[in-house]
Symmetry: C2
């Protein structure tokens, strides 16, 4: 279960446009590392991207992207795995699923409490 500190970290991480877009890129950016595509000898991983590939999509310097990725990783919503001198990045589905579940539970509990209090369904 995600504790409060962890949730706040996730919200903070996603509450910045650049990081939100990086996260989106990791999630939906095709899951390929352009460095691997350039190198015919390397089998392309369809699941992972890497730091400089992500940076290609943004107008910020590489260290800036690197720092943002670190924050997303510390929030545990992406994973970064080093293979050779590259770092392969994937979304952390489990954390996202949990977070979605938290919101769903929150809404359900609210409605249940409301029902218990009023003895009928929620009114607008």
């Amino acid at each position: 279960m995600l504790d409060m500190k962890q949730k706040i970290k996730i919200f903070k991480a996603l509450g910045n446009e650049t990081r939100f877009l990086i996260f989106k890129n990791v999630f939906t950016g095709g899951y390929t590392c352009s460095l691997d595509k350039k190198d015919k000898n390397v089998k392309v991983s369809p699941l992972a991207t890497c730091v400089s590939t992500i940076a290609e999509h943004f107008d910020f310097a590489l260290p800036t992207i690197s720092k943002h990725l670190k924050e997303l990783r510390e929030a545990d919503i992406i994973t970064m795995e080093k293979k050779g001198n590259k770092i392969y990045i994937e979304p952390n589905i489990e954390t996202i699923r949990e977070l979605g579940g938290c919101f769903t539970t929150l809404v359900e509990n609210f409605e249940t409490n409301r029902e218990l209090f009023f003895g009928d369904v929620a009114v607008s």
Copy 2:
């Protein structure tokens, strides 16, 4: 539907411990305005709280809490309705429900895409 700017606003709003706790308080704090409890002539609303009631639970000055509430309202995750000289505050369930749905959809789409790509279920 929540657009990107709106989602980022929500994450930013909840990505601060004080605002997160205020939000929690609005959601689960008993839904009562202590000012109404003190005044025998006023019927207690079991659903709403107000700015100074929330401020009672924190060690920050009232204007600080007021400013945080404004940010939560601008993120559309709480509502603030003026009645007399008080402002009644409630969680905005609809926005929270939508946000939860976004995460759920994100996870589902990811898994569907993965399945389409690999022709079978997700692997770890």
